[in-house]
C-alpha cells in the first residue's frame, strides 16, 4: 500500500502482478500491460479534469477506480475510449499509442476495447436484439457473433425473453445488463464498465459482479468505475482511488479494502 501524497501519486506497491481474488491463479507475471495510461490530462472547455493521471491494467486483471462524485472517473474512461480527447500524456492499448496515432473512438473499439458507459446509453428505440447487433458492429464473423449472442443470453437470460422489445422499455437493471451484454458483443479484450451497479437492487448488483468475474475467468480484462467501493474492491485484483482528477492511492483490492483512509472516506466506517 502506497501512502499517497498527490505529488508522488504514481508510485505503486504491487505493480503489475494480478493477485486473482478468484484463486485460479494463472498470473501473467511477465506480461506487459494491456492498457497503460501515463500522465493523462483531459477535461472540458477551459477546465482540466484529470491531472497527470497514470494507471495500468494487465492482461487478466479486474481493476477498479473508486472516487467521489465529480472526481473524474467517467472522464478517465471516456478519454481511454477517445470520446474526450487527451490533452497531454499517453494512452497505450496493446502496444498501440492511441493518443500519438490519433485513433478515433470507432477504431479503438476495433482494437478490442469495449465500453459500457455511465447511464447505460442503450439505444431506446432499437430492440434489445438490435442493440446487441450494434455491439457487434465491428465484426463480420456471423458464426462468432451467433455464439457470443448465445453466450450473453446465457449470462443474462432475461435479455433472451426481451429480444424484440425496444431497449427503452427495459427496467433499469435490465438496461444495465443490456449495456454490458452489448459491450461484450464486440468480443473485447478489455471491458470498461462505468458504474455497473448504479441504481440496482442488491441481488442484481451481486449478479452483475458474478458475471464480471465469470467474464474475467474467460479471459476478459476489466477496468471498472464504481461508487459502490466495497463491492468493487472485493471483486477487483487491484484498485485506484481517484480524488479531484489525481490518483491518490493504489493497491490490491484487499489492501484498499483494509486501508483506514479508504474505510473512512469510501466505505462509511
Amino acid at each position: 500500500m502506497t501512502a499517497a501524497v498527490p505529488s508522488a501519486a504514481s508510485a505503486e506497491l504491487s505493480p503489475g502482478v494480478p493477485q486473482p481474488a478468484t484463486g485460479d491463479a494463472t498470473s501473467p507475471a511477465t506480461a506487459s500491460p494491456l492498457l497503460l495510461v501515463e500522465d493523462l490530462e483531459a477535461g472540458y472547455g477551459p477546465i482540466n479534469v484529470l491531472h497527470r493521471l497514470s494507471l495500468t491494467v494487465y492482461p487478466g486483471e479486474i481493476v477498479a477506480i473508486i472516487g467521489a462524485n465529480g472526481a473524474g472517473k467517467t472522464t478517465t474512461l471516456l478519454a481511454i475510449s477517445g470520446i474526450v480527447p487527451a490533452r497531454a500524456g499517453r494512452i497505450v492499448f496493446q502496444g498501440r499509442d492511441l493518443t500519438a496515432e490519433g485513433i478515433p473512438p470507432h477504431e479503438i473499439v476495433r482494437l478490442g476495447l469495449a465500453h459500457a458507459p455511465e447511464g447505460r446509453k442503450i439505444f431506446p428505440r432499437l430492440t434489445v436484439r438490435e442493440n446487441l447487433d450494434m455491439g457487434a458492429f465491428t465484426r463480420n464473423d456471423p458464426d462468432g457473433i451467433a455464439a457470443d449472442l448465445e453466450k450473453v443470453f446465457t449470462l443474462f437470460p432475461i435479455l433472451r425473453q426481451r429480444q424484440q422489445q425496444p431497449g427503452g422499455l427495459l427496467s433499469g437493471g435490465e438496461q444495465q445488463m443490456l449495456a454490458i451484454a452489448r459491450a461484450l458483443m464486440a468480443r473485447p479484450k478489455l471491458l470498461l464498465l462505468d458504474e455497473p451497479s448504479l441504481g440496482l437492487a442488491p441481488q442484481i448488483v451481486v449478479h452483475i459482479f458474478q458475471v464480471i468475474r465469470e467474464l474475467n475467468r474467460q479471459g476478459v480484462s476489466v477496468l471498472l468505475v464504481e461508487q459502490n467501493a466495497r463491492m468493487a474492491l472485493k471483486n477487483a485484483h487491484r484498485g485506484y482511488v481517484l480524488e479531484t482528477g489525481r490518483i491518490t492511492l493504489s493497491g490490491t483490492g484487499q489492501q484498499l479494502l483494509h486501508d483506514p483512509r479508504v474505510r473512512a472516506a469510501y466505505l462509511g466506517e
Binding site: 477517445g82 478515433p104 470507432h106 458507459p117 431506446p124 447487433d133 450494434m134 458492429f137
Partner: protein, 316 residues
Amino acid sequence: MEGWLAPTELAGGFLQFLILGLVIGSLYALIALGYTMVYGIIELINFAHGDLFMLGAFFALGLAIWPMGVTTAEAPLPALVATVALMLLLTPLFCAIVNVSVDRVVYRPLRNSPKLTVIVSAIGVSFIFMNIGLLWRGATPVKFPDLISDANLLEGTGLRFTWKDLMVVAVTVPTMIALTLFVRYTRLGKAMRATAQNPVAAQLMGINVNRVIAVTFAIGGALAGVASVIYGLYIKAVDYQMGFQNGLYAFTAAVLGGVGNIPGAVLGGLTIGVVGELAKAYLGAKWSEAVIFGILIVVLLFRPTGLLGARTREKV
C-alpha cells in the same frame, strides 16, 4: 399547380381530389424524408434542402435536352424510357453528391458548434443554391419537357388518373418502401438509427458517425433528386424559386408527421397533399395554405412531437 385540371368537370368529386392529393402528397413526402432524416441524425433543419431539390430539377432538365434531345411525349418510346431512366438515375446521384459535399465542407466543421450557427449556415447554403439556380437558368420559369402522356387510365369511370399520376406513384411508393427496408433491416440502416438515438454510444459501438451522417445526406439528397425529376415531369415547368415553396410544404409535412420520424414524413406529406387539394377544391385555392398551416398548428397543440413523433424525446 392549378389550371391543368378543371375539377368541376369531373364527376368523381371527393374521390378525385383524394387521388390528386395523394399524388401531390407523395411528392412532398419524398422531399420531407430528406428533412426528417438529416434532422433525426444531427438535429439540423436543413434549409438548403428545398433548393437542392430545385438544382436537381435543373440538372434533370439538362439531361432531357442534352443526350438525346427528347422533349415531347411523341418521341419514340425507347428514347422516352431511356431519357426518364437516365434522369431517375443521374439526378439522385447528382443531388447526393452535392448534399454530401455540403455536409463535408460546411456542416461537418461545425459539428460541435452551437445549433444556431449550423442553422444560419444552412440558410446561407440555401441562398447560395438559389443564386446558382438563378445563374444557371435565369429568373423566368423554364418549360420542362412534357415526356409523359396525359391520357386518362380510368377513362369511363368519371375519375381521372393519368400516366403522369401513375408515374408519380410508381416511383415514390417503391422508393419509400426501399428506404424503410433499408433503415429497418440493413447494418448501415441500423447504424443510422443508433447514431440518431445516441451518437456517443454509437461511436462506442465502433460506428463511424461522420460516415453515417454522410450516408444520411446522400440518401436525403438522392430522394430530393428523385422528387425533382418527378416534379419536373409532372408540373412541366421549373424555376429557381421552386425550392422555397415546395421545401416549405415538405418541411411542414416533416414537422406534422414528427420530425426525425421516417413513416411520419410520409404520413405528413400525404396529409398535406390531400388536405391542400381538398381545401383548394372546396374552399378555393387561396384557402389551401391557411388550412394546411391551421391543421399543423392544431396537431402541434395536441401532439407537440407531431403525428408519429416519439412522445418524449429521450435524452438518454
